[in-house]
């Protein structure tokens, strides 16, 4: 059993143990959808919602699997639940915000293969979190993901005005910005009592 306090977990996953900048989960949308603030923020919220739903379902699913000694099926069941949750979000966004749906494009269904979502389900199982701890972990993870995405989009919007050498443009530039953000997030280490 894991004894970390709920507040501790929440704070750790948002700042020093940020999913994107410290644990490298969910890099694809981080590099792909972070061009504009107007798409980055909704994308972050959508992902945070999927993380929350799949974390809660994974918690109960895991109880069932452990009960029947079927732990080897965990990856398959988790990913199926996540795919369903993503489908739900996709239908909701398509119905309520069709404009946003077009802007997010392929990245919305790709939340299924976002490591952050599966990562939450796997890590909370591996660390034997109880229900409250899992909830804190998934909410913190979602918020941290949104924070990283929004920060990145903010920086990239400013970068469009500056003169960047041709060679560094594109993916390399985003990776460098990610590195700098990651470096600055290391300044938070120690908050929340560490991992």
């Amino acid at each position: 059993m894991n004894n970390d306090s709920v507040a501790n977990i929440l704070l750790t996953t948002i700042l020093p143990g940020n999913f994107v900048l410290a644990m490298f989960l969910g890099m694809c949308p981080f590099l792909g959808v972070s061009q504009k603030l107007s798409t980055a923020f909704p994308m972050g919220i959508a992902t945070a919602f999927v993380i929350l739903v799949s974390s809660v379902s994974a918690y109960f699913l895991n109880m069932v699997l452990v009960h029947f000694h079927l732990e080897f099926l965990s990856v398959i069941t988790f990913i199926t639940v996540i795919a369903c949750a993503v489908q739900l979000v996709e239908m909701f966004v398509k119905k309520t915000f069709p404009e946003l749906f077009r802007q997010l494009g392929i990245y919305l269904p790709l939340i299924t293969t976002n490591c952050a979502v599966l990562g939450v389900a796997l890590f909370q199982t591996a660390r034997q979190y109880n229900f409250a701890q899992s909830l804190a972990y998934s909410i913190g993870g979602g918020l941290g993901f949104t924070l990283a995405l929004v920060l990145m989009a903010g920086v990239r919007e400013r970068m469009q005005l500056s003169n960047v050498p041709t060679l560094v443009q594109g993916a390399a530039l985003s990776v460098v910005i990610g590195g700098l953000l990651s470096l600055s997030f290391m300044g938070f280490s120690g908050i929340g009592g560490g991992e």
Binding site: F24, V75, G170, V176, M186
Partner: protein, 211 residues
């Protein structure tokens, strides 16, 4: 356009469409497990195995999977092979299993796998599909190894666990920490961009000479 030969399919993934340096896919394991060269190789080979086997199966089943549920079917196929690899690595080396942690299971969520299954294996017969997948996997391994070597050399002063620079070397700790991953990857991306740039200019000059 002539039909690509099998060898072409293989080379495509390994070099021309290298998943890390050219397509910038599968970034999560790329940055997370490349702290040392050994980790990088094992992660790359595990991914290659899953890629090869799942693309073979997807290609064999390409006529029987209905179009509406194809993504879900691919994911279940991939997840099956990932579970196999997960348990195999646990049985072979517990140290390695602990070093790679949950990232082995996270191969399921690697964009390269679903991308290959959807873009190539679902449309091609088994042999080219498997070759393409294995080429892609080895290209991925190559990329991981390139990043892993640099990070291990600078961050720990070692390569494959062997000390390189003697006792006076002061390790760049930042290289084995998360930001180091970003910086080394950026360095390789810039290098590749420069390479393409020079190549493109030379080709343009050749064209001028010929005309």
């Amino acid at each position: 356009m002539s039909a690509p030969t099998s060898f072409d399919e293989f080379l495509d993934g390994l070099w021309r469409q290298n998943p890390i340096f050219v397509m910038v896919l599968g970034m999560c394991p790329t940055l997370a497990v490349t702290v040392s060269a050994v980790n990088a190789i094992s992660m790359g080979l595990a991914t290659t195995f899953v890629l090869g086997t799942s693309c073979l199966l997807v290609s064999l089943l390409r006529h029987s999977i209905p179009k509406q549920v194809r993504i879900a079917s691919y994911i279940v196929i991939i997840a099956t092979f990932v579970t196999v690899v997960d348990y195999a690595i646990q049985a072979i080396s517990l140290d390695l299993y602990e070093a790679l942690g949950a990232y082995i299971k996270l191969i399921v969520a690697n964009c390269i796998l679903l991308g290959r299954a959807e873009a190539h294996a679902a449309k091609n017969p088994p042999l080219p599909a498997t070759l393409n997948a294995i080429g892609m996997g080895l290209g991925f391994t190559l990329g991981l190894l390139a990043i892993g070597c640099v990070r291990e050399m600078l961050g720990a002063g070692k390569l494959f666990g062997i000390s390189l620079f003697g006792a006076h070397f002061q390790p760049w700790v930042v290289m084995v920490l998360p930001p180091g991953g970003f910086f080394v990857l950026a360095f390789w991306l810039i290098l590749f961009a420069a390479f393409r740039h020079i190549n493109g200019r030379r080709n343009a000059q050749l064209g001028e000479v010929q005309s």
